[in-house]
């Protein structure tokens, strides 16, 4: 007991002194606090070094393939054949050439498709939740959305495989269409469309939660002023609240995109597991063609790690994923930074 009191005193006194003189600045910290501070500092430094170490590791492993393939890694296809070839020749120099265009296209298409879904339907949900929802319904709805955001992706994959894929193959793909396309790609329901639907279900809740938070934190006085001037509620939402919450909404979309890009298991289950580049010339059939994303390629082909060329190719996919995640997180920093400085303060 006595010791505790002593410690308290020793903390308080210098503070008083500093506040009166204003000159003796910092109070001396107790030894224990210093130690803890140093440990925390070390841990912070260590974890940031770890991130750089991961990047260095992934990229260094990817270099053999990236170097041998050059730009054709991004601009040419034939991944599955390349991979089989690399596996069978067990990594001769010729086997280091990979073309990941279908995979990159698959990633971009599924993610952007899901984002379009999110920005339309998700934004509607967010507006409803934060502006129009009756008070008694808001709590349960909000907690449901948050719960949905926390469901592991493999569950969404299963739902996609059991419900979405059979639905597409039954109702959207006719036997004639499938016959006509069989030489180009197998249409069996596992498709770009299934991927987009499953991804939207997955990232939708994240986006809705973030966007409704952003809308709620739009300055109240804007809304009040707008309503006082006689604008309708709808007009206020569209013209005043949404622009004020724009940065937060965009930041939410970017976070959702980050999760979509990295999603592997769920997409590997529903998008068709073949490195196929959908052809826009096929019209709407484009959406029914199978694709495979960078992340699900890593999962599907992980077995090949024992051959150096295959390993390097998978790390090349990984380095692209890493790069896009870094870019996205930079974007989201810019936008969330603007959110804090732009407009007026919350109060």
């Amino acid at each position: 007991m006595g010791k505790m009191e002593l410690e308290n005193v020793s903390v308080i006194i210098p503070e008083k002194a500093s506040s009166t003189t204003g000159f003796f600045t910092k109070p001396r910290k107790p030894f224990k606090e210093k130690i803890i501070e140093i440990i925390l500092l070390l841990l912070t430094v260590l974890s940031s070094i770890l991130i750089f170490f991961v990047m260095f590791f992934v990229i260094s492993k990817a270099i053999p393939v990236l170097k041998a393939s050059g730009f054709s890694f991004v601009f040419s296809g034939g991944w599955d054949e390349n991979f089989l070839n690399a596996w069978q020749t067990s990594g001769e120099q010729s086997a280091l050439k990979f073309g990941a265009l279908p995979l990159i296209a698959g990633t971009v298409l599924t993610t952007s498709g899901a984002l379009v879904f999110c920005l339309t339907f998700g934004l509607g949900c967010a507006i409803f939740l934060s502006e129009m929802c009756p008070a008694w319904l808001r709590k349960p709805l909000e907690s449901t959305v948050r719960l949905l955001a926390a469901i592991p992706s493999v569950i969404y994959g299963l739902i996609g495989l059991m419900i979405v894929v059979p639905f597409i193959s039954k109702h959207l793909i006719s036997n004639e269409l499938s016959l006509r396309m069989i030489k180009i790609c197998a249409l069996d329901g596992t498709s770009l469309l299934a991927g987009i639907i499953v991804l939207s279900m997955m990232i939708g809740p994240i986006f809705i939660a973030m966007a409704s938070d952003a809308i709620k934190s739009a300055p109240k006085i804007y809304k009040e002023a707008s309503l006082a001037l006689g604008l309708s509620h709808w007009r206020t939402i569209v013209k005043i609240i949404l622009p004020a919450a724009r940065n937060g909404i965009v930041a939410g979309a970017i976070l959702a995109a980050g999760r979509a890009i990295g999603e592997a298991i769920a997409l590997s289950m529903v998008t068709g597991s073949v490195a196929n580049l959908p052809n826009p010339a096929h019209g709407l059939v484009f959406f029914l063609e199978p694709v495979r994303t960078l992340a699900s390629t890593i999962v599907d082909n992980a077995e090949g790690m024992s051959v150096a060329a295959c390993e390097s190719a998978l790390f090349a996919c990984g380095s692209f994923l890493l790069l896009s995640c870094v870019l996205l997180s930079l974007f989201s920093r810019i936008f969330s930074g603007n959110l804090r400085t732009g407009g007026v303060s919350d109060k």
Partner: protein
């Protein structure tokens, strides 16, 4: 009050103890390698010799038993050692050598009893009698180390084809050796080889033969053989295929079921990713130098192929026979039904080895486990759904 309670409980404990002791004195127990031998009927002593139920002791010692009703003859075989006994006869045989027993094998209440010491020692075990406990201690194995109870943990990874069998084997092994913990994970043959070579696992499961391109220093133990089955959806009317048709389907030369006697519908080809052992064998057996068609779906496991074929009427794929169930249908191949019997008797020829690889020759617990897998007990588990190597 307290005192009386103490006395009562003391008396109770003592009585219980006495009962236990009396019970123990009446029965003979047998321990094999430190574990009590479980028997369906009690062993007894006849002319100073302990007789035990035949099945319990032979199976625990890893010997297979045969009973010939006509001659009343019991034959047990373990490795190269074979012993023969006759009910009621004092003559016995160890290999080709004749032995005279003190007590003959006997039948009691429908159970055959054999003299424990003779049987165990003929099969290479050591037998000790602990008279104070009425306990027979049997220890197998040459050295003292092998006699100790097995403990520790093993890790296995690799082929998804081998995985179900490996899991079944490890479960039995762990039941017999409760202090042993074995984990089996999948990943594919490629993963099994890499993990074993890197020392990440003790045993790698592989469903193909080792190749020159695999890491050096791996030792393969063939544990079973497995057939690969071409499967289609149960709703598909096609129920016979030829090797040539399979090749044409998987290389994309035939794309319509109509061409091989089915409906006018596209053929959805399901294949495995390149590093799969099942794919490797399938390609060697059916495709040769040709590659699988580019539109083929690439799955990472047997289960996923089966799921894909079960879920699409027009799909075709290939899986390990161990994965066959009613959700998919196996057409005949060149007129041969792909069944376990046909694979065993050699009429169904699409059969590949299951191997377990270790870094260097297997040692310690890995060796004990592989010995178990190769024993008649282990192979009897193999036989249920796969082809035994015996």
């Amino acid at each position: 009050m307290k005192k009386s309670l103490l006395i009562v409980s003391l008396v109770a404990v003592l009585t219980l103890l006495c009962v236990q002791l009396a019970f123990a004195a009446g029965t003979i127990s047998v321990q094999v390698n430190g574990k009590a031998l479980s028997m369906d009927s009690k062993p007894f002593i006849k002319q100073g010799k302990v007789l035990v139920p035949m099945r319990a002791i032979f199976e625990t010692l890893g010997a297979s038993v045969k009973w010939d009703d006509k001659t009343q003859k019991v034959t047990a075989k373990k490795g190269s050692t074979e012993i023969a006994l006759w009910i009621g006869k004092k003559e016995a045989k160890v290999g080709s050598k004749n032995v005279i027993l003190d007590v003959a094998a006997a039948v009691d209440k429908g159970r055959t009893f054999v003299p424990l010491r003779f049987v165990a020692e003929s099969l290479g075990a050591k037998v000790d009698w602990v008279s104070s406990k009425n306990l027979v201690v049997v220890t197998t194995g040459g050295g003292g180390a092998a006699a100790a109870e097995l403990s520790g943990s093993l890790k296995m990874s690799g082929s998804t084809s081998v995985q179900p069998l490996a899991e079944e084997l490890t479960q039995v092994f762990m039941k017999e050796n409760p202090k042993v913990q074995i984990t089996v994970t999948g990943g594919g043959s490629g993963v099994g080889i890499k993990d074993a070579a890197d020392g990440k696992v003790n045993i790698g499961n592989v469903s193909r033969n080792l190749k020159d391109s695999d890491p050096k220093g791996l030792v393969a133990t063939t544990i079973a053989k497995d057939a690969i089955v071409i499967v289609v959806n149960p709703k598909n009317p096609v129920d016979k295929l030829t090797t040539d048709q399979v090749k044409k389907i998987f290389t994309g030369a035939i794309t319509n079921w109509k061409d091989i006697g089915g409906k006018n519908a596209p053929i959805i080809v399901n294949s495995r990713t390149a590093p799969s052992g099942t794919f490797d064998f399938f390609k060697e057996k059916f495709l040769g130098e040709d590659n699988v068609v580019a539109t083929a779906k690439q799955h990472a496991s047997n289960g996923l192929v089966r799921q894909a074929v079960a879920g699409n009427e027009n799909a075709i794929g290939f899986i390990s026979m161990g994965f066959m169930d009613s959700s998919v249908k196996a057409p005949t191949l060149d007129g041969v039904k792909p069944t376990l019997e046909n694979a065993k008797n050699g009429t169904y020829k699409v059969v590949r080895p299951f191997i377990m690889v270790t870094k260097g020759a297997p040692t310690g617990l890995a060796k004990s486990f592989l010995d178990f897998v190769l024993s008649s007990e282990g192979q009897s588990i193999v036989k249920k759904e796969y082809i035994s190597i015996q």
